[in-house]
């Protein structure tokens, strides 16, 4: 028997909003680290001059990164471990998502440490970290909206015997 399960089964509403807003802030301020907003004159649009303030964007990036660093372990422990214990089911896509996000985030932190405090570190190392950071960001930017935007962010898992979920708590059964 097959059932479908959302990869975000038990995330409370506040967590979802916090996650989406923080991710948006992280990506927007992250893209601003490459001077895109000045290059494309977005900073000249009335009301958007702040997008040309590199220090503000940098502070926003670090602040949203700190928020995300707080949210990730909360979401991981609170939701995935609990659903695993209660329902004895693993969600490969959820773990893939977490691993991808953790890699993206680790590259972000590594970049901050290497660029800011990496005096004497080989430039190649900082370049590699920067490149990983940018590539993972783009990967994230491409993948996550697909997951979030579609209501079909459902993965099909083989339901284990005695573990059918008719309550709809973990996603709409097909």
């Amino acid at each position: 028997m097959k059932k479908t399960t959302s990869i975000y089964p038990e995330l409370p509403q506040w967590y979802r909003y916090a996650f989406i807003i923080t991710t948006a802030m992280l990506l927007f301020s992250g893209l601003g680290q490459m001077p895109l907003y000045k290059r494309y004159f977005i900073a000249d649009v009335p009301g958007f001059s702040w997008t040309g303030d590199y220090f503000f964007l940098n502070h926003l990036h670090y602040f949203s990164a700190a928020l995300m660093a707080f949210l990730i372990p909360v979401g991981f422990f609170k939701n995935y471990f609990r659903s695993y214990i209660e329902n004895n089911e693993s969600r490969p896509a959820a773990y893939a998502f977490i691993i991808m996000f953790a890699a993206f985030f680790a590259a972000d932190i590594a970049k901050i440490i290497a660029a800011g405090y990496g005096a004497g570190y080989p430039r190649e190392m900082i370049f590699t970290i920067s490149l990983m950071n940018i590539l993972l960001t783009f990967l994230f930017v491409i993948t996550v909206p697909l997951l979030w935007a579609s209501k079909k962010i459902l993965i099909t898992v083989e339901a284990k015997e005695g573990n059918t979920d008719s309550s709809g708590k973990y996603g709409a059964p097909q």
Partner: protein, 320 residues
């Protein structure tokens, strides 16, 4: 600099490989504990002869940009081109072809008119915002306190110049890796500034400007020694210092008999002509936020483990 697309990707792959290898090298082997070098410029001695300027140009000739012309079209079309290739002999400001210039100030001090000549170049900050905020790590602070920009990595976005309190780095269009990627859409050349003759220093030689100075206005040495000497001179001879605390501390200390606020008022300021005003530590807030960022995952983990423990307890309590 003429870099083909293949060369750019080859360089990128090589650098990435070297980077991964470098990550495995312990910090001790990288010489992370080496002392930073600083220079002291005694403005009482400087006669403004520009020997340092020409020595710098001669010594760094091979590092200067050789742009490809015509420049690729950039979009949006109003993106400005920065071309100094036909003005290589400009010495009255900083340009991609002139990394050091003499700023002049006529000031009245203690009832006397004095002319002060001030050699200006990169201050080599201790906590350089250009290196912190460069998106590709092209600007980088070395172990010995020198901040350099790698022309093979720089895309010329000029962010380093915008975040530098003195707007030191200068851009040349038509050169660098952006030409091999998407010149119409991203990048605009390479940023150039004083690299304090890092190649000479690595061979145990003096930077060209210091070597060429006929009056010995500049000295170089370990930062703690230079700072101690500058402070002692300032105390004993009632002199003024600049660069010690500016932007959180720099590796260039100016010593002057005239207060720097007077000099700042007297000098010509503008593009390529940096000020001498008091400068706050531009990276101070970032450092605080970086600290918060590094502690946030632990705070999140503690909060969630506590919550998780409560949930488990409740769950098993309900089951019983």
């Amino acid at each position: 600099m003429d870099i083909s697309r293949r060369e750019f990707f080859k360089n990128t792959a090589t650098k990435t490989g070297a980077g991964i290898a470098a990550m495995m090298v312990p910090a001790v082997l990288k010489g992370a504990s080496q002392n930073e070098l600083a220079t002291m410029i005694d403005l009482r001695k400087c006669i403004g002869c520009e020997s340092c300027v020409y020595a710098c140009q001669e010594s760094n000739q091979s590092k200067y940009p050789q742009p490809q012309k015509p420049f690729p079209k950039m979009y949006p079309e109003k993106v400005k081109v920065s071309d100094w290739s036909d003005k290589r002999d400009v010495t009255e400001r900083l340009t991609p072809y002139n990394w050091l210039y003499i700023q002049r100030a006529q000031v009245e001090h203690n009832g006397e008119m004095t002319e002060v000549s001030i050699p200006r170049r990169c201050m080599h900050c201790q906590n350089p915002p250009c290196a912190h905020l460069c998106p590709f790590g092209a600007a980088h602070k070395e172990n010995n306190g020198i901040t350099t920009i790698d022309p093979e990595l720089c895309f010329g976005g000029a962010k380093c110049s915008a975040v530098c309190p003195w707007n030191i780095p200068q851009r040349q269009t038509g050169v660098g890796p952006y030409l091999s990627v998407a010149p119409a859409l991203a990048g605009n050349g390479v940023m150039y500034k004083c690299d304090r003759c890092f190649d000479k220093i690595s061979e145990g030689r003096m930077p060209a400007c210091i070597e060429a100075c006929p009056v010995g206005a500049q000295t170089i040495g370990p930062r703690d020694e230079i700072v101690a000497r500058a402070k002692k001179m300032a105390d004993e001879e009632n002199l003024y210092l600049y660069g010690l605390d500016e932007n959180g501390g720099t590796n260039t200390i100016y010593v002057s008999a005239v207060p720097f606020d007077k000099l700042n008022q007297a000098i010509e300021k503008g593009p390529g002509k940096p000020h001498l005003a008091k400068t706050e530590d531009t990276m101070a807030r970032t450092d605080v936020l970086a600290g918060a960022l590094l502690t946030a995952p632990f705070a999140g983990a503690v909060a969630s483990v506590t919550g998780f423990y409560r949930q488990i307890k409740k769950y098993f309590g309900e089951k019983k």
